[in-house]
Structures are given as C-alpha cells and as structure tokens.
C-alpha cells in the first residue's frame, strides 16, 4: 500500500517537473529573437573597440540632468486624525502617532543645519553631491524640543533609494545625539512606504513620488505643521539617471531628450529592467515611455513587451544587478547608482 502511494507521488511530481520545464522552454523560445537581435547589435557596436575585458561594473550612466529627470524628495507628517481604516475597511480612531517627534524631526531636517548637512552628503565619498537643496525649500527656525519618554521613538517610513544611499545613516545620528530621539527607519518602495503610513505604522514619510504624495494628502493622511504652509514639504532633489551597458546599443547617449532615449529603447526592443514595485523610481519611469505603448504601473500593461521589458518587482540594488548581468537599460536615482557602483568594485 505504502509503496504504491510512494510510486504514485513520485510519478506525479516528475510529471509536474516535466510540464513546468516544457512551459519554460516555450517561454525561452519566445524570448530568443529579441535577445539575439540585441546581442548582434551590441556585438556590432563593440567590434571596433574590442580592448581588454571590462573590469568591475559595465553599467554606466548614459543620460542625465534632463529636466524630466528631476527627482524631488518630500517630507510629510502623518495626520493623527487621518481617516485610518483596518483591513476590512472599518474606521479606526485610536491610532498611535508620535506627532511631536515627527514635528521635531521635520523641523530639524528643514533647519539650516539639517539642510546643509543633507546637501553636503556624498561629496567626501564620491566626489559628487548626491542631493541638492530645492529652490524655495521651506526653512524652519522653530525651536526643537528635547525628547521625552513619550516622544522619544520616531518612526520614519522612507524609500529604499534614500536608505540605500546612506544619507540617513549620515544625517540622523546628529539629530539623535543632540535632541535624544531614536529614529526607527523602515524602507520600502514609495508605494509601500506610503501604504505603511496609511496603516498607522509611521509618524512621518520621506518619499519621492509627487502623484502618490498628492493622493496621500488628498486622502487626509497628512496635515500642515504649525511652522509651514503645506503638507508636502519638498526640500531636496537629485537626478534620475538612465543607465545601460557602456556599448549603448540603442544610442541613448546622443538622444535629444530623455523621452527620445526611452523611445529608442522601446523601438529597438533593447532589454530594460523596471523596478515594477510602484516605487517613486517606477512611477517616474512609466512617465517617460512613449504614450502609445500604454505602459502603466500595472504589470498587465507590459504583458506584450515581456520579450524586452522586465517587470522585476524588486529594490533598486537588485534591479541594478539584474541590469548589469543582462546588459539591460535601467532608470535609477543617481545616489543609489553611485553607491552601487562603489560597493560593486570589491566584488569578486
């Protein structure tokens, strides 16, 4: 009896393995034409310059500093009286939000000291500034209270790009040491970071997706702090950069605008890695494709482009690795790309 069952189970699992393997092969066949064309193109481009094998990272910045590529970062305080709802949609009124702590951190980040420190970050390590102060950034002169037992722990929900760039590790200890707070940082894509705040798990947000921030404000989840005149406190920016293999088969380096560069990638079906996680980088990327492609944050919208478009649903670093390995184009924020490049140098 037992033997029979064992044999049955074994053969079933074998059958399942074969079936899935076949399905994968079919998928692979679909992909071959696109891949081979792009490889051919790459080969053509590379032949004149076949020098020594590349060392370290081949992925390079091909296009940057276009006005369409500005990446604005905003601070938003979470409203303690926001219309919070639980998983079933029932209103929840007694959600704990550390408003005083959040206000203290925002006032410090937007003080002269905070803003100068943030914009100085990165120069010592990378020889380039990673974040710039926005024109007309709000400046706070409000006095920052010392932490008390109740306001001590501040929950900051932010995006991976801010966290992975190392900015907060540089900035927050100064604030914590001076005023006695502890800032607990959780990082995820902007969409996820905002969802986290909507579930009452953050006291403030530091994110970079205008449309999603505006939706958050319109939903009543943020409020205007006494010392400011807006919920969205946009205070620093940097640039998104379009990266790709140094051979640049799509020729985006010489594109007239970043939109042309994206159009060239789509036109030639060159491999492109998308974050696919509703992050700020993802929302920026989908705004740059030619409109007639109909690419949105929804995975279903790229179903027809799977031969060249990778909807990866992963963090910036993972996607950069993926692009590096597959010789694909990718949109990244500059800070993460430079950090990635620096870290990757020690890989063996």
């Amino acid at each position: 009896m037992m033997k029979k069952i064992a044999v049955l189970l074994l053969s079933l699992s074998l059958l399942a393995t074969f079936l899935t393997a076949c399905a994968q092969e079919n998928g692979a066949e679909d992909q071959t034409p696109a891949n081979s064309t792009s490889e051919n193109d790459t080969a053509e481009d590379e032949t004149p310059g076949t020098e020594e094998p590349e060392e370290g990272v081949d992925l390079t910045i091909l296009y940057e500093a276009d006005d369409d590529m500005i990446n604005n970062y905003s601070l938003l305080a979470v409203n303690p009286d926001a219309p919070f709802v639980d998983a079933d949609g029932n209103a929840v009124s007694d959600v704990y939000i550390n408003t005083e702590g959040a206000a203290a951190l925002i006032n410090w980040m937007l003080s002269e000291e905070g803003e100068t420190t943030a914009t100085e970050y990165g120069y010592a390590d990378y020889g380039e500034y990673l974040f710039y102060l926005s024109e007309g950034a709000p400046v706070s002169t409000a006095e920052i209270p010392q932490a008390t037992e109740e306001t001590k722990v501040i929950r900051l929900s932010t995006t991976t790009s801010v966290n992975d760039s190392g900015l907060l590790g540089y900035l927050l200890p100064i604030f914590e040491d001076t005023y006695g707070y502890t800032v607990e940082v959780t990082s995820a894509g902007t969409g996820n970071a905002i969802a986290n705040a909507k579930s009452g798990n953050a006291d403030l947000l530091l994110v970079h997706s205008k449309s999603q921030e505006e939706e958050f404000v319109a939903g009543g989840y943020s409020y205007v702090l006494p010392s400011f005149d807006s919920e969205r406190l946009t205070f620093m920016y940097n640039y998104f950069v379009l990266c790709g293999p140094s051979a640049d088969p799509a020729g985006v380096k010489n594109a007239a605008s970043v939109r042309d560069a994206f159009a060239a990638i789509a036109e030639g079906k060159y491999p492109f890695v998308s974050r696919g996680d509703q992050s700020g980088t993802h929302t920026k990327e989908i705004s740059l494709w030619p409109e007639e492609l109909g690419i949105t944050v929804d995975a279903a919208s790229v179903e027809d482009y799977t031969d060249w478009y990778t909807y990866s649903n992963a963090g910036m670093g993972v996607c950069l690795t993926m692009a590096e390995e597959t010789g694909a184009y990718i949109l990244s924020d500059k800070a993460t790309f430079l950090t990635f490049q620096a870290n990757n140098g020690v890989m063996e």
Binding site: E184, V185, G317, F340
Partner: protein, 228 residues
C-alpha cells in the same frame, strides 16, 4: 568568494559595533523563539504521537499542513494584527523583537511538534505494550515515552533553532529590519544585497553559518556527554 572569507574574518576581529548588535539581536530572537516553541511544541508532539484514539489522523494532517506554513504569510498576518490599524495595535508589537519572536514561534511549534510526533508514533505502541504488561499507569507510560525520545527532543530543538536563524520572510515583515533594533543577520544580508554590497552580504552569511555550527556542535557535545 575569497574576499568574502577574508572580510568575514576581518569583520569578526574588528569588533564592529553594528555587527555586534545584529549578532546579539539574532541570538536573542532565535534562542528565545526556539526555546518557547520547544516548550509548546514538544508536549503537543509527544501527546499527539502517543495518542491512538479517534481523530488522530486529522490532527496529524492539520499539523503537517501547518509545518508548511509559508513564513511570508505568517509575517503578513502578524503585520496586519500588530499594525497601527490592526486589532492588536495597543500591544505596540510591530517592529519589535517580541513581535518577531511571536511570528517565529507560530512557524516553529508545528515543526517541533511534527518532528516529535513522527518519532513517538513509531515507538509508542511497543512501549505501551511492554508497560501495560508491567502494570504501569498512564502517566508513567508517558514519562517512559519521553525518556525514550530524548535524542529526538534535542534534534527537534536544533531543527527549530536552525530554522529560527535562517528565516527571513516573516522577521523582515514584522521586524522591519530597523538598524540597531530589529535588524538580524538574514535581514542585514538582504539589505547589503539590495545595496549591491555582495561581499559584505556573503561575509555575514559565513558568520551566520559559523554561529550555527558552534551552537550545533555545543548541543551535540553536551548531549553525547549526558548520554555517557
């Protein structure tokens, strides 16, 4: 790979403060969750294994299903329970080590119970037959079974401990991988991988494996010495 080994050694010898905190958090989380899970799961497993009445098969099937609980699902459920809008929000357990331990215990109890159940189920009938022949009471029979399952008990605990060390899906959702607070070895490895710092990530992996080796060797030595 070589660089990773060198870096792992350098990291250990440098006495890096952040690494120290990650290690302590990992040990605190893994040791307490595996110990609590053993205290809950072992009695369940022994009882289930020695029980021979109606409904045993149903209970065994349920437990085996729970052994396959995906950690991310447990993480998600705990996240929703402990979340700021969740029903258990007043306990303030989200992004705490206690919250992570609770998620781990949910994952480990069925595992430990199942591992003991399968052993006890095979030895219990013989022991019971002998014991009944000797005229022993039910309580004494149970004690006898536990005595016969010592080895299995240790290996079930180690199974739980290993799983607690290696788990990443649930702890990252409930703990949030907050630096100096809830960041454990596995979530730190994820973080470094995300930043493209593969060598550092691998170095942490090597350290994690080394700790696991030391703990396992320690328990095995202790066990063999006790057995004589």
């Amino acid at each position: 790979m070589k660089t990773a080994f060198v870096q792992a050694l350098a990291l250990i010898t440098s006495g890096d403060r952040q690494l120290g905190i990650i290690l302590v958090t990992t040990l605190r989380m893994a040791l307490s969750s595996s110990m609590i899970a053993l205290l809950l799961g072992a009695p369940l497993g022994v009882l289930l294994g020695s029980y021979a009445g109606r409904g045993k098969r149903t209970l065994v099937v349920i437990n085996r299903t729970l052994m396959g609980l995906p950690p991310v699902v447990v993480g998600l459920v705990c996240y929703m329970l402990f979340s700021g809008v969740g029903p258990l929000r007043h306990l303030r357990l989200l992004y705490t080590v206690t919250g992570m331990v609770i998620a781990q215990v949910i994952l480990l109890v069925p595992l430990i119970a199942g591992s003991l159940e399968s052993h006890v189920s095979t030895v219990a009938p013989d022991i019971r037959e002998t014991a009944l022949g000797m005229g022993l009471s039910r309580g004494r029979i149970l004690l006898l079974i536990i005595n016969e399952s010592q080895y299995q008990l240790v290996s079930a605990y180690l199974l739980g401990l290993g799983r607690a060390f290696a788990e990443v899906g649930a702890v990252s959702m409930v703990g949030g991988a907050i630096a100096y607070k809830t960041n454990v070895m596995t979530t730190a490895i994820m973080n470094y991988t995300n930043m493209g710092a593969f060598t550092t990530a691998l170095a942490l992996g090597i350290i994690l494996l080394a700790i696991s080796l030391v703990l396992n060797a320690g328990v095995a030595l202790l066990h063999w010495r006790l057995e004589g």
